[in-house]
């Protein structure tokens, strides 16, 4: 491993990044609290959390744009806490499309390489190859103002990628793009990341985007890390109600209830059998969570629990129907395959398989999660 010069152009990129007990305070406000993170070389880490969770603050610390109030940042085991961004091997892409307005697309992409003092031929080769990756090779002579939003963000991404920095930070890079364009670019980015040795850190508020990216996820809320692990594991076993909430779209449905000797009771009335995944759960009061896609409008087995409610709303997405059902003052959302129409205000029964229930204790911690087969 070697860094070519002081400006962070790394010829062989396989950086590791570690944050130890990092805290960031700005005045009386705590933006980040006791962050411990260990990011393996070449991995993809998704920072998932709502607005103001601390995702951008954390990225700024990783980049070296801010200095933590306490704690250390280690790159390849060396303490870089006090080192400025210029000396670090990082690239960052923001949610706003940030390019140099007076530079052509070519010059924009070339700028990090020029700063690093690369030769003209080398710059040309790299700029053209990254432009091709992002399908903007035909736009190299244009100015950013003459580009569409998607093309501008492709240019910014190309500038981030061209340096082949050891650490690539992407702060909600697709959020300001059209939905369909997001889909396309996300897929392209994933295949680009797969070919690189850089650490990629990607911030998002959307659970589905996190799942599409895969890799590892760090769930952030109010400046703290709530859970980290492989993205699909965290999705299937959220450690608390809050995490289940952040990592479910539509929001996870919650109801109080109890586990009894041979059965379980949701709310006061809904009774079902005690299924296998609840085998080790002690008898007592719990909060139960169920994701929308595990609620059905048709009974699927005798074990299904029946919840009676009033249709508040039904939304059809083309292939699926989301039925919002009010039950005991709680709004449930059931996600049903296919097109179904429901009259508002009608009484309806929705069914849930008790094997799909998440069980949380009184503090909100996960006690049991549904079993799952993986691919």
């Amino acid at each position: 491993m070697r860094i070519a010069d002081g400006y962070g152009v790394r010829l062989v990129a396989a950086m590791s990044l570690k944050l130890e007990a990092v805290t960031k305070r700005v005045g009386p406000e705590i933006h980040l609290q006791d962050i411990d993170l260990d990011i393996a070389p070449g991995s993809l880490t998704v920072l998932l959390g709502p607005t103001l969770a601390g995702k951008t603050s954390l990225m700024r610390l990783m980049a070296g744009l801010d200095r933590p109030t306490a704690g250390r940042v280690l790159v390849d085991g060396a303490d870089v806490t006090g080192q400025s961004v210029k000396r670090r091997d990082v690239a960052m892409v923001y949610q706003q499309f940030i390019n140099y307005p007076s530079f052509t697309v070519y010059e924009n992409i070339a700028s990090p390489l020029r700063r690093a003092g690369l030769g003209r031929d080398e710059i040309d080769r790299r700029v053209r190859s990254v432009a091709e990756l992002l399908h903007i090779e035909g736009l190299l002579d244009r100015l950013p103002a003459a580009l569409s939003g998607g093309q501008q963000q492709r240019t910014a991404l190309a500038r981030g990628l061209v340096k082949e920095a050891g650490l690539l930070l992407l702060d909600e890079p697709l959020v300001n793009l059209d939905y369909k364009l997001r889909e396309e670019l996300r897929e392209e980015l994933l295949s680009i990341f797969a070919e690189r040795k850089s650490i990629v850190v990607y911030a998002t508020t959307e659970p589905l985007e996190a799942l599409m990216l895969g890799g590892n996820v760090v769930v952030l809320d109010e400046g703290r890390i709530l859970q980290q692990g492989s993205t699909i594991d965290v999705y299937t076993r959220p450690a608390s109600i809050r995490i289940g909430g952040i990592f479910s779209d539509p929001p996870i449905n919650l109801i109080g209830g109890s586990v009894e000797q041979n059965r379980l009771v949701l709310g006061d009335v809904v009774v079902g059998p005690r299924t296998a995944h609840l085998g080790n759960v002690a008898v007592g009061q719990y909060s139960f969570g169920v994701r929308s896609n595990a609620l059905y409008v048709n009974r699927r087995s005798d074990a299904d629990m029946e919840i009676r409610g009033i249709v508040e709303l039904s939304e059809i997405s083309g292939s699926e129907t989301f039925v919002h059902v009010a039950h005991n003052g709680v709004s449930w959302v059931a996600q049903e395959e296919g097109i179904h129409s429901f009259a508002l205000g009608d009484s309806i029964d929705i069914y849930l398989d008790p094997a799909a229930l998440f069980v949380f204790d009184w503090r909100g911690g996960l006690v049991a999660a549904p079993g799952r087969t993986t691919a």
Partner: protein, 361 residues
């Protein structure tokens, strides 16, 4: 409340439009029924915002007329049209309280204070803003601000239509559900005519009764979410609606079958009859990822080889290939996908034939 009739509307931002690209909106005729929820869906630059501005009166169309019920409003200014609008970024009056914000449109119209008070209280109740009435509006969160924007439309009893310009852009995913639920409830209760502009197919489909898919200044298709999903009239609609979009496999017609990479997919007699009437350069089969099964026993069979499998929690996306063509398949959460799966089945009633990009049947 009103029915909106767009009669031969076309618009160009250039003073002397000559060629096709000069027209931001190409001639369109639409009748949107009173009390309906409509969405204009399309990518940036498709003309959806221009069309919204034509309806609101911010843009006077180069050609055609806009009718609210039977009244021609083409020449009327925005403020004379009795419409309300919610913008992409929350527009609130910074120096006013929430109550003053909500009262503003009424006070401007010299409504008596008693009525103002009642209306503001009603609307605040409806939007769950009652507790915030005396707070300064600028101190609220983005979703509350959007509710205030909406509320300024709802307080008026004379509103013919409420227009929405990507109103959920700055809202967190969780709050989007709540805000959208609120919006739908209000729509159900008051039967307002709503027009919603967005690039996000999920928002458009879940919000609207009927969605107009736009591209390049044209409306390609207007239909219910189901129609757009099951029978997109144009290749672009198939691609744009759905995530991932529709699969398109180039094919040739031979006898009663479509031939894809040497494999035969039988077509229905109606489709064949329609195809016979419509000679074309190129044919494609369109199949949604949702209508392909990995473990089905019936339906047309296609030999594939499995590539990537993505586990997205609620479902899986399998990328497979049919010869040189790519095929995306949506598999249920609990289905395990073996890498050696060699064939899939298509749902026969959901296989569509496209000729030069247009639906044949």
């Amino acid at each position: 409340m009103a029915r909106i009739h767009l009669d031969g509307i076309a618009h160009s931002y250039s003073p002397s439009p000559e060629s096709d690209p000069d027209w931001a909106l190409k001639a369109l005729d639409q009748v949107w029924e009173h009390g309906g929820a409509y969405a204009l869906l399309g990518p940036s630059g498709c003309g959806k915002t221009t069309l919204l501005n034509v309806i609101s009166g911010l843009v006077t169309p180069t050609q055609g007329r806009v009718l609210f019920d039977e009244t021609d409003v083409t020449g009327l200014a925005t403020e004379q049209r009795n419409i309300a609008q919610v913008f992409q970024f929350p527009v609130i009056y910074d120096t006013m309280t929430v109550a003053e914000n909500l009262a503003f449109p009424l006070r401007n119209r010299s409504v008596d204070e008693g009525t103002v008070k009642t209306r503001v209280a009603e609307v605040a109740e409806l939007l769950d803003l009652s507790g915030d009435l005396n707070k300064r509006a600028r101190r609220l969160t983005a979703d509350a601000k959007q509710k205030i924007s909406l509320g300024r439309g709802l307080v008026r009893s004379d509103v013919a239509a409420i227009l929405f310009d990507e109103p959920l852009t700055v809202i967190d995913p969780h709050l989007k559900w709540q805000l959208r639920r609120k919006l739908k409830q209000i729509h159900e209760r008051f039967k307002l005519t709503l027009v919603y502009v967005t690039h996000d197919q999920n928002e458009a489909l879940t919000f609207a009764d009927r969605v107009a898919v736009m591209q390049g200044g044209r409306i390609l298709q207007v239909g219910t979410p189901q129609e757009l999903f099951e029978a997109p009239v144009h290749r672009y609609v198939g691609f744009f609606i759905g995530s991932p979009g529709m699969n398109f496999l180039p094919c040739a017609l031979d006898g009663g079958d479509a031939v894809v990479q040497g494999q035969r997919v039988p077509l229905g007699p109606d489709v064949l009859a329609a195809a016979a009437k419509r000679p074309a350069q190129a044919y494609e089969l369109g199949v949604r990822p949702e209508f392909i099964t990995l473990d089905g026993e019936t339906g047309p069979r296609l030999d594939i080889s499995v590539g990537k499998v993505e586990d997205l929690g609620n479902f899986k996306i399998v990328t497979a290939s049919v010869g040189e063509h790519r095929l995306k398949i949506k598999a249920p959460e609990h289905q395990s996908v073996a890498p050696d799966i060699a064939a899939v089945r298509l749902r026969p009633d959901m296989v569509r034939l496209y000729a030069d990009g247009e639906l044949v049947g």
